[in-house]
């Protein structure tokens, strides 16, 4: 009996291992849907590949992908670990976070009270002024204070339009909350996954290369009006300490363009960042990108009326780029889009006509038709992909053409901006050659398309990566 039991056990284990190997080696699959990438395959066994270790390395990777239930096992492991660590983390930090929230509320209340007391004191002083001289002095003081407040309002107004003239707000540390570091190195601040801060000192060399390239371009093409737009994100601001990266200011000070032509999407406090960016993805959300759109439009076509957002529709869930490889199961959020009254435009993506750029309209329609919300929406799928070249032709506009050189952040703006230009050309230098089969030449491109306005738009990566340098 014992021998039979042991024989079944030993044969069972050996059969399971061999079956796994057989499936992995003989019936390989192509796509790893869980991690949204191609599956690893076994490398050919040669003396060379064995001696340099590449065969062995690839075999390990292939087995991790191709063995039966490997992906399910990985998923289960991640779910279990993130469920456990997440629950413990929540339990351990609950008291701290509640105390932080209470402290934040108390501070806000104090600030409000102080402002009310200031106004009441002004009123009281005016009432109590005994003679005309005293009253005049007091009024002059109050007038000076009023003018200072008006100047402040003007500054705030310009800053809210993305214009920087050497003065900007201090970062408002409006929370006693702190950053927590996940095992992947990603940070968590309140509900947001964050990348670490990147400061000017570490990026300056690469920024200088880009600044030099931009200034050369500006100098070489006086017939073109250039605009730059820098999008600050969480890497530019430390919400816990109030430190800024200094990168936007550095770009502003060194790019040879008028202040009105080099604006920025500036972040002064966490509550703004929270409203403007996804929690789990590195991109700006519908609200943030709309703000970006109004600032860009104000910069290029001052006085032009932007489209108004009509209705906000939740289209499903999103577990974005920052959650990948971190804790996808735990970090998901709902994602919604604003509807706009888009006029029809002709869209050409990499030389091919397309009926849409991004599926935002289709997704909204799907929800309105009673369809199921998306399980895992993607920024690129909603707002439009990173196309090497996208051309939008709007017969109803007579505002001429514009070339936008950017990266994925501008995907969310293209449909909106296309409503204001006869032709909008968008080029993503990372993908241009691969997707169009042509080498991008700025000089030839602007000449060929008669472009007289160029917008350079992006976040820090755009201004430091080699791939975006215009030569």
């Amino acid at each position: 009996m014992k021998t039979a039991v042991n024989a079944v056990f030993a044969a069972g284990v050996l059969t399971a291992l061999l079956t796994g190997l057989g499936k992995a080696a003989l019936l390989p699959e192509d796509i790893n849907e869980y991690e949204n990438r191609y599956m690893e395959q076994f490398a050919p066994l040669t003396v060379e590949s064995y001696l340099d270790g590449s065969f062995q390395e690839q075999a390990e990777k292939a087995l991790a992908d191709q063995l039966p239930w490997a992906i399910d096992a990985k998923k289960s492991y991640n779910t279990a670990v993130s469920g456990f660590t997440g629950s413990v983390f929540d339990a351990l930090t609950r008291g701290y976070r509640e105390a932080a929230a209470a402290e934040d509320a108390r501070r806000l209340e104090e600030e409000k009270k102080a402002e009310e007391e200031r106004l009441a004191a002004e009123e009281k002083a005016l009432q109590e002024a005994k003679d005309a001289e005293e009253r005049a002095a007091l009024e002059a003081k109050l007038e000076a204070e009023r003018q200072a407040r008006e100047a402040e309002i003007r500054l705030q107004n310009e800053l809210s339009r993305g214009i920087y003239r050497g003065v900007r707000n201090e970062v408002k540390v409006d929370s006693t909350e702190r950053y927590f570091t996940l095992p992947s190195g990603r940070l968590v601040y309140k509900e947001h996954l964050m990348y670490e801060n990147r400061f000017l000192a570490g990026e300056q060399k690469k920024l200088d290369d880009h600044i030099e390239a931009i200034n050369n371009l500006v100098e070489r093409h006086p017939e073109i009006t250039f605009y730059t737009y820098y999008i600050e994100k969480e890497t530019d601001v430390n919400f816990q300490t109030g430190e800024r990266s200094g990168i936007f200011e550095y770009l502003h000070d060194n790019i040879d363009l008028p202040d009105e032509n080099k604006r920025g999407f500036m972040i002064d406090r966490f509550s703004d960042f929270d409203a403007w960016f996804f929690k789990t993805d590195h991109h700006w959300c519908g609200t943030g990108s709309y703000r970006g759109y109004t600032q860009v439009l104000d910069m290029i076509l001052p006085g032009e009326t932007p489209l108004e957002p009509l209705e906000y529709t939740e289209i499903g869930k999103l577990s974005g780029s920052k959650a990948t490889g971190t804790d996808t199961e735990r970090y998901t959020e709902t994602v919604g889009v604003w509807s706009y009254d888009f006029k029809p435009v002709t869209i050409t993506l990499n030389g091919e006509k397309s009926s849409e750029y991004g599926r935002q309209l289709a997704y909204v329609q799907r929800i309105k038709d009673g369809g199921t919300p998306l399980e895992n929406a993607k920024y690129g799928a909603v707002y439009g992909p990173d196309s090497g070249e996208a051309i939008f032709e709007n017969p109803e506009s007579d505002n001429g053409s514009i070339l936008i050189l950017g990266e994925s952040y501008d995907n969310a703006l293209l449909m909106l901006l296309s409503q204001h230009f006869s032709t909008l050309y968008s080029v993503d230098l990372r993908n241009y050659k691969a997707q169009t089969g042509k080498v991008f030449s700025f000089d030839s491109y602007v000449k060929e398309h008669g472009i007289d306005r160029v917008l350079l738009i992006g976040n820090l990566d755009y201004y430091v990566l080699q791939a975006f340098i215009l030569k």
Partner: protein
């Protein structure tokens, strides 16, 4: 190749078993094992497999010489010394030359170029195995192995090649030429292998994460409590990793009909340092006892000479673990403690209640592992300072630094439970047929769980790269 990897499970061991049991003749089966062992070693060290073969060749030729020169003692002795020197020189060059030159440069300035030599994995293990063959042959404790492939199989046999135990030739001498595999033994071996795999993949890797996070972080943040917990976590990591590998080696050996001696006997239940070293890495301590300590005279000498013998053995034990001063200090630390225990503290410890003597022993062992772990003197000094004079526990700072510590902390209680001999309960269950079914089902489930861990986590530290 390491046991706790997908290629080992799904490519290596499955195919090795398939081909091994496909043959009936022992000669062919040995051939399969030899081929598999060379593939196993070359998987990670494709070129250095030749070095190992050359060292075995030297031992084989030396062995033939020692055997042939039976009637000429002086020549036989010369042959023996020559062979041992050659084998030891190989270890010295590959493992210790860089360390030696660095120290010479440290004393006299940069007079020599520090050689950059790749350390062949498992060199300390296979060198000691080969030495045991040559020494035992010289002493007449084992017979000469005339077949080079068989000697190569003994040394390169994959279960014990890179992480021990140090299997002496006398242990497997007869089984290389005559053994019998039995399905009950195979199943036992499988169960033992899976137990070892779980120790490594689940517990050791789990607690390792904790220690790694703390030592990589800011000591100000972690403070005294977390540094002690990190030291405990590292102690558990070492035990479950090393004893897990030994379990896997013993289990794999049994699958192919070999009976290796036990290497760990629940060392963390020890109530004295002497007891601890009777239970920890038994094959290494007995090797040093039989081949260094006793030939030096052991304890049957003057007190001064005995002290010298102990210190020599323990500094060599330390050096065996790695070419770095912290290992020497670690060895001397144990040498001194053992001397003290023999002379003074042993009698005092024996009078204490067992829980107290256990706590004292564990304190010493954990402190020892901290010295062992941190090769960088600055890191070691910081760790010791923080353990004894660090700041208080600040949980929010700890979480802010790395929330991964939560996962690591989960495995510490598991390790603390399974370091005691709870597995013996399972052994009793296996004696009945229903119990055996249960044990096999448990092992199968454990294997599946290990696979889930291997798929899910890429964190799989390999601590034998220095050995």
């Amino acid at each position: 190749m390491v046991f706790s990897s997908l290629p080992f499970l799904f490519i290596f061991i499955s195919l090795t078993c398939l081909f091994y049991f496909a043959f009936r003749s022992l000669k062919w089966r040995n051939g399969v094992l030899l081929f598999a062992s060379l593939v196993f070693y070359s998987w990670g060290e494709p070129r250095l497999v030749l070095l190992m073969a050359l060292v075995v060749l030297a031992a084989w030729a030396g062995g033939l010489g020692i055997d042939a020169l039976k009637d000429r003692p002086k020549a036989r002795r010369a042959c023996f010394i020559g062979t041992v020197s050659l084998i030891t020189l190989n270890l010295a060059v590959f493992k210790y030359l860089g360390f030696l030159v660095s120290n010479i440069n440290g004393i006299f300035g940069p007079v020599l170029t520090v050689p950059v030599i790749e350390l062949p994995i498992g060199i300390s293990f296979y060198t000691f195995q080969i030495l045991s063959y040559v020494i035992d042959l010289y002493k007449g404790n084992v017979g000469v192995q005339k077949s080079f492939p068989r000697l190569l199989l003994y040394v390169s046999f994959f279960p014990q090649l890179i992480a021990g135990p140090i299997v002496r030739y006398s242990t497997v001498e007869s089984e290389i030429g005559r053994r019998k595999e039995d399905v009950n033994e195979i199943a036992w071996g499988l169960r033992r292998f899976i137990t070892g795999l779980a120790k490594k993949v689940i517990i050791s890797n789990g607690v390792a994460r904790f220690a790694e996070i703390v030592y990589a972080g800011d000591p100000q943040v972690y403070g005294r409590l977390m540094y002690w917990l990190a030291a405990i976590a590292y102690s558990l990591q070492l035990y479950f990793d090393f004893s897990g590998y030994s379990d896997m080696a013993i289990g794999l050996g049994r699958i192919f009909g070999f009976h290796f001696l036990e290497n760990f006997d629940h060392p963390y239940v020890s109530c004295s340092i002497t007891e601890f070293w009777r239970r920890w890495h038994i094959s290494l301590s007995t090797w040093f006892r039989d081949y260094i300590y006793i030939p030096l005279g052991g304890s049957r000498v003057s007190r001064g000479r005995w002290f010298f013998n102990i210190m020599v053995v323990w500094s060599l034990t330390g050096l065996w673990h790695g070419a770095s001063w912290n290992f020497v200090f670690w060895g001397l630390y144990y040498g001194l403690l053992l001397v003290l225990e023999k002379l003074v503290t042993g009698r005092l410890m024996a009078k204490l209640p067992r829980p107290i003597s256990w706590l004292i022993t564990m304190f010493i062992v954990i402190l020892g592992w901290t010295i062992f772990d941190l090769t960088d003197p600055a890191a070691l000094s910081t760790a010791l300072r923080t353990m004894f004079a660090g700041g208080p526990f600040r949980p929010m700072d700890v979480l802010a630094a790395n929330t991964g510590i939560i996962e690591g902390a989960f495995y510490i209680p598991l390790g603390l439970i399974f370091m005691f001999p709870v597995g013996k309960l399972f052994k009793k269950i296996e004696s009945s047929a229903p119990g055996l079914i249960l044990a096999n089902l448990w092992s199968a489930a454990l294997l599946v769980l290990c696979c889930v861990y291997m798929f899910g986590s890429s964190f799989n530290p390999f601590i034998y790269f220095r050995f």
